[in-house]
């Protein structure tokens, strides 16, 4: 297990490098000129040249990348073209709401999604199955921004129970978290149902019944545990997408998080901020994939011992 763990963790380092190069290249291929954005429409060609010079935009791309990485390793993410503040400071202020939102959405959606899936599989063809799958299909089909707006209309405007936006109290997390997690809950419910139905047909589940095990333990210890290997894969992909989903939810609920910052920065061609954000998004994806890989090892001894 130890070796497997170390191998996986080390494997993420080259991946991070490749990702950083890709982000850098793509970003510089987007049309648009940060110097023009900074200086405004009335700026002369002379001023633009000077700004580009100051920002290092005239250097060859490889040099720009090396400088960027050099700064990165020294903990310097650069300075925002727009605000003139250090990027790290800007991100840090935005990190907390986004992470909190992500976790609150993740926890309920994963737990509820898997629970609905398992229940539907065990009660296949019964009322619980139909209710569960109705919820799941609704969750998959409803677009997030629309759900957000409807929830605001019902719970904030009509009933006045919850705030329409911002993150001032714990109540203000409820609607954004519901909006963000709904899709994941739905996908996981469907997936864990089919995965459970598959494992329930396995020979070892029959063995567990043949030895006289109680049905709920047959389901949990033998079927569920083994069905998780497949569920974890999908859960990882879905949770990885949460940060991207937060872009939308933060906009709908006017939450000052990283998603909103990204949208603003792209509009302004604020390269340094975009770069840092994308790097962070990729890091999140890589970390979650790493966790998924490690969970594989925990759940499936065959992988662990390879």
């Amino acid at each position: 297990m130890g070796r497997y763990f170390v191998k996986r963790v080390l494997g993420t380092i080259p991946m991070m490098f490749v990702v950083s190069i890709l982000i850098f290249l793509f970003l510089h291929m987007i049309p648009g000129d940060p110097a023009r954005q900074m200086a405004g429409k009335e700026a002369t060609e002379q001023e633009l040249v000077q700004i580009r010079q100051e920002l290092g935009l005239n250097d060859p791309l490889p040099n720009q990348y090396i400088n960027y990485m050099d700064d990165l390793f020294h903990g310097d993410l650069g300075t925002s073209y727009k605000t003139g503040l250090p990027v790290s400071e800007m991100l840090l202020g935005r990190l907390k709401p986004t992470i909190q939102l992500m976790f609150s959405a993740m926890i309920w959606s994963v737990l509820l999604g898997i629970a609905i899936g398992v229940l539907s599989a065990v009660k296949r063809g019964k009322v619980a199955d139909y209710v569960g799958m109705f919820l799941a299909i609704s969750g998959i089909s409803i677009p997030g921004f629309w759900l957000g707006l409807v929830l605001i209309q019902i719970f904030s405007v009509n009933l006045g129970l919850l705030p329409t936006g911002g993150l001032d109290s714990w109540q203000s997390y409820i609607l954004p978290s519901l909006t963000l997690g709904c899709g994941i809950m739905a996908v996981l419910a469907r997936f864990s149902r089919s995965s459970m139905l598959e494992t329930m047909r396995e020979d070892y589940v029959r063995t567990a019944r043949a030895k006289g095990q109680r049905e709920w333990l047959v389901v949990l210890r033998h079927a569920f545990r083994n069905s998780l290997v497949q569920v974890v894969t999908v859960a990882g992909l879905q949770i990885g997408g949460l940060l991207a989903g937060s872009v939308l939810v933060e906009t709908v609920f006017s939450i000052p998080g990283m998603g909103r910052l990204l949208v603003d920065s792209i509009a302004f061609r604020d390269y340094k901020v975009i770069q840092a954000e994308l790097l962070f998004f990729s890091l999140e994806y890589i970390v979650i994939n790493l966790i998924v890989d490690l969970l594989y090892g925990v759940l499936n001894p065959k992988i662990r011992y390879q």
Binding site: M200, R201, E202, D203, Y204, V205, R206, T207, A208, R209, A210, K211, G212, Q213, R214, E215, R221, H222, R225, N226, L299, N300, P301, K302, Y305
Partner: protein, 331 residues
């Protein structure tokens, strides 16, 4: 009821629902007995209802479309089909155990071997966890596993097929069941390993006096292991006989065909005789004798009415009008 009787299956009928089309009868009017400490062979082609019979006895048809619609299954006088799910749960593993063809996939891949044995032991005994662990090791040793401690710590994927089947047997025998149902226990194994597993089962039968229902399609295994044999065809028992009689003097045309199709060393025959045609589809059964379309002795009356399973002399039973006629003239 005789003291020696262990399992008494009477008129067992199991049907499988097939969507809206209705249902097919996979096991029909199956009646047989096993005495204490006896090895009874149950042979037949794939799909003839051998495994469904076994699963029906265990009430393990959950998660299949199968349902027992008639009959009685007495285990030591106790009608299993009348038992509640909770009562049945206590009987499974304690009074009657089962091992399967695919031993490797029959073990939970995410649990260590000893944990799976301990689970079975704790379910049916008052042993503490530690005692159960010791008992598990003892069981692994008894089924001839050379290094029980190491195998106990292993996961199923680290074991060979033969080793997995030994583990399955150890698990099945861990609570001293009176009946062991072995569903094609050696089919997936190499010939040498097959012999070892069969030896092991014979040892269990001899030493612990466990009755064994041995399901197989391998007549060689039957000849070596069983005292009595039941032959099934299309969900019905077509012949029952002591093993010697069945091989030397098969009565039912299907049994004759089966035995004739076994290659014999040194017989000089270059091509093996085979039974023409194939097993009828369960949903399109012929009206009369189910074997009539493939039977070379078949007469018109065979195709009209299904013959009953009739008891003959010498503890034999046969479902064939021709055999019954012959027997009648002899008498």
């Amino acid at each position: 009821m005789p003291e020696k009787l262990l399992l008494d299956v009477r008129h067992l009928r199991t049907e499988f629902t097939q969507g809206k089309k209705g249902s097919v009868v996979a096991v029909n009017d199956v009646t047989f007995q096993i005495e204490k400490g006896e090895i009874l062979g149950l042979v037949g082609e794939s799909g003839c209802g051998k495994s469904v019979t076994a699963l029906s006895i265990m009430s393990l048809l959950k998660d299949t479309p199968g349902k027992i619609t008639d009959g009685e299954v007495y285990l030591e006088g106790n009608n299993l089909l009348r038992c509640s799910e909770e009562e049945m749960r206590k009987i499974r593993g304690e009074n009657v155990s089962m091992i399967f063809q695919e031993a490797m996939s029959s073990l939970n891949p995410a649990m260590r071997v000893n944990a799976q044995l301990v689970e079975a032991i704790l379910l049916h005994t008052d042993k503490t966890k530690r005692e159960a662990e010791e008992h598990a090791l003892k069981m692994l040793g008894q089924v001839g596993i050379p290094d029980p401690a190491r195998v106990g710590r292993s996961y199923p994927h680290q074991l060979s097929g033969g080793m997995s089947q030994r583990v399955m047997i150890a698990m099945a025998m861990s609570c001293d069941p009176h009946l062991l149902i072995a569903d094609e226990p050696t089919t997936a194994l190499d010939v040498t390993i097959q012999a070892q597993i069969l030896d092991l089962m014979r040892k269990i039968q001899r030493e612990i006096h466990t009755g064994i229902l041995l399901i197989t399609h391998d007549l060689g295994v039957v000849a070596e292991m069983c005292s009595r044999v039941i032959v099934m065809y299309a969900g019905r028992i077509v012949e029952e006989a002591p093993v010697q009689h069945l091989f030397y003097e098969p009565m039912h045309p299907y049994t004759k065909g089966l035995i004739a199709s076994v290659p014999k060393l040194g017989s000089g025959v270059t091509s093996l005789p085979s039974i023409p045609g194939s097993v009828p589809d369960l949903s399109m059964m012929p009206p009369g004798c189910k074997f009539a379309p493939r039977c070379r002795y078949a007469q018109d009356r065979c195709r009209e009415e299904e013959p009953p399973l009739v008891e003959l002399s010498g503890g034999r039973k046969c479902r064939c009008v021709l055999v019954q006629d012959k027997e009648a003239t002899v008498e």
